[in-house]
């Protein structure tokens, strides 16, 4: 059994200059990683970090400049069709032919993967019902909402019993309840079939909920790989909220004097401070005779990590 159905080694993409005399652009810079069987690996990074470029190379719609991609221990460049039989994708940003109905579109994709006849019918009925779009199956794609299209794309991705699914912001245009449904569906597919999933999203709570591990890309390079909570914990700065009865301005001045970022919202002072230094800070505050009625400390989240890492 192959432990890692996807192994990426020194993957690099350098785009040629757009104009004569311009500079080539390195979108993905020498990245290596593995996707384990049944793993959900988050791919995070600010815009332009190289996430979409990486996914395009993993789908074979963009050729790498250097490096290798191995699916199921076979070189993707040499076994593209064979590999893609088990690799699918869904993206909020890719559409389907608008003149075709949902059913026709999915029938075409099913046939491309040789999922036909009763197997196709049963699977589609199950997926479309799960996503609440069964009633829309005979509608042409142009009559569907963005959220419905996204759900159809997900059904398409999981239709041919994939071993690996690449999901590019699968919940970007969905209402919270449907987004939750999608997350549950993704987790269920992993649980039932051991599908490995590469997951990109700008919703950090979602990534924390769904992903086993997160790989953070910046300027085309992998800058961190860890569990979402570990990445969040690596952010030392917490957000401390103090509801100050008397001495709002003095508190602000006091925090500024200690070079701490501070802001005021109503009667609440919000101070960004190292978790370890909170106790000491409160002691000093008491010495200054500043009293507060409530205190809350927001633990760093993956979003904080994202914001910290996205800063240049």
């Amino acid at each position: 059994m192959i432990d890692s159905p996807l192994v990426v080694h020194n993957l690099t993409k350098i785009f040629p200059p757009e104009k004569k005399g311009g500079r080539p652009f390195t979108a993905v810079d020498d990245i290596s990683f593995k996707l384990r069987e049944g793993q959900i690996l988050g791919l995070l990074g600010p815009n332009g970090a190289g996430k979409s470029t990486t996914i395009s190379m993993l789908l074979g719609t963009l050729s790498p400049t250097f490096g290798s991609i191995r699916y199921f221990d076979k070189d993707f460049a040499k076994h593209k069709s064979e590999s893609l039989q088990h690799v699918t994708f869904a993206s909020t940003y890719i559409k389907m032919p608008w003149r075709l109905t949902v059913w026709e579109n999915l029938k075409i994709y099913g046939t491309l993967y040789d999922v036909q006849g009763k197997v196709f019918d049963q699977r589609m009925e199950r997926f479309l019902n799960f996503f609440g779009v069964w009633q829309q199956r005979h509608k042409t794609m142009n009559l569907l909402s963005a959220g419905q299209v996204t759900r159809i794309m997900l059904a398409k991705a999981f239709l041919p019993y994939p071993k690996i699914v690449l999901l590019d912001e699968p919940t970007a245009s969905l209402d919270p309840d449907i987004a939750h449904q999608v997350r549950e569906f993704v987790k269920l597919q992993r649980q039932e079939y051991g599908v490995s999933i590469l997951y990109t999203s700008h919703n950090m709570e979602e990534v924390t909920d769904v992903c086993d591990e997160v790989m953070f890309l910046k300027h085309g390079q992998i800058v961190a790989v860890d569990k979402p909570l570990n990445l969040a914990r690596s952010v030392k700065t917490a957000r401390m909220r103090l509801l100050v009865k008397d001495g709002l301005k003095r508190t602000q001045k006091f925090a500024k004097a200690q070079a701490l970022p501070v802001s005021i919202e109503g009667r609440e002072v919000i101070i960004e401070i190292d978790e370890q230094a909170i106790a000491q800070f409160l002691e000093k505050l008491a010495a200054e005779k500043i009293s507060y009625s409530q205190i809350a400390v927001d633990k760093p989240t993956l979003e904080d990590y994202f914001l910290q890492m996205s800063k240049d």
């Binding site: 785009f15 040629p16 979409s52 470029t53 395009s56 789908l59 074979g60 719609t61 963009l62 050729s63 593209k80 069709s81 064979e82 893609l84 039989q85 699918t88 994708f89 940003y93 890719i94 559409k95 389907m96 032919p97 608008w98 003149r99 075709l100 026709e104 029938k107 075409i108 994709y109 046939t111 491309l112 993967y113 040789d114 036909q116 042409t140």
Partner: protein, 260 residues
């Protein structure tokens, strides 16, 4: 090559016919308008000149030209349709191979050409009693040559679009149009300005239309002339396929996603 993937592409391009008037008008409406226009014109020319073969030659030329048009259109238009539908990445991120796509569009072009041709032929024979079967077995090489020309024109324009993007999509319509005067479709080659005749001689369809007019006028077929058409056609088809595949590779260097 896998049959199920070819079937999938057939479904992809046959399903829209159920509800897309654009495609139906390409397949039926315009060929019928052409047929009526040229049918009446050729009949009038025939009566004015007293030569019945003129009408037959013009109507036959019209039929053959429609074969080129349909064959090329199925290749290049199917590609541009995927681009318009934001579907290129969807299609080529599946196990589908480029050679399966090529085979599918070539087969589809034959299928749709047969359909268009059947309708036009019925009208031509029914309305003007043009005896298409007068050309006998020569119809087979004529049709074969026209389909081959349509394919290489289609692959050439599809390759240009893949390489330079949708801004060049006009080649789907202009490239075959450029071939029209140089092929001496509706008039003998000798009527063409002498300098331009050199260009016509490297256009494979010229030899077919010349041979067709010779037969219509009761002359003997020159095998050398006819074979020149196939030599050029197969050479151009090979080059156009090579160009298409190389453009596809070039396009994946920049990413198929750039068409979205």
């Amino acid at each position: 090559m896998k049959l199920h993937r070819i079937k999938a592409l057939f479904l992809r391009h046959l399903y829209p016919l159920k509800r897309d008037f654009d495609l139906l008008s390409d397949m039926l409406y315009w060929p019928l308008v052409d047929t009526l226009l040229w049918g009446i014109t050729s009949q009038w020319l025939s009566e004015a000149s007293g030569q019945a073969s003129i009408a037959l030659a013009i109507l036959m030329a019209l039929l053959l030209w429609n074969i080129i048009w349909r064959a090329q259109s199925e290749v290049s238009r199917n590609l541009i349709d995927e681009i318009w539908n934001n579907n290129l990445v969807n299609i080529f991120s599946t196990p589908l191979m480029v050679r399966e796509w090529l085979f599918s569009v070539m087969s589809l072009s034959v299928l749709k050409t047969i359909f268009t041709l059947s309708v036009i032929t019925t009208v031509v024979v029914g309305m003007w009693s043009a005896n298409i079967l007068f050309f006998g077995w020569w119809l087979i090489p004529f049709i074969l040559a026209m389909v081959t020309t349509g394919w290489w024109v289609g692959f050439l324009s599809a390759g240009i679009i893949l390489r330079y993007g949708p801004k060049m999509q006009t080649v789907v319509w202009t490239l075959p149009g450029m071939l029209l005067p140089f092929s001496a479709v509706f008039f003998p080659l000798e009527r063409f300005p002498e300098a331009l005749q050199y260009v016509s001689r490297i256009v494979p369809t010229t030899y077919i239309f010349e041979t067709m007019r010779t037969i219509a006028a009761g002359g003997a077929v020159d095998w050398g002339t006819l074979s020149m058409s196939f030599v050029f056609n197969f050479l151009y088809l090979g080059l156009a396929l090579w160009y298409f595949v190389s453009s596809f590779r070039y396009s994946t260097k920049l990413g198929l996603g750039r068409f979205n």
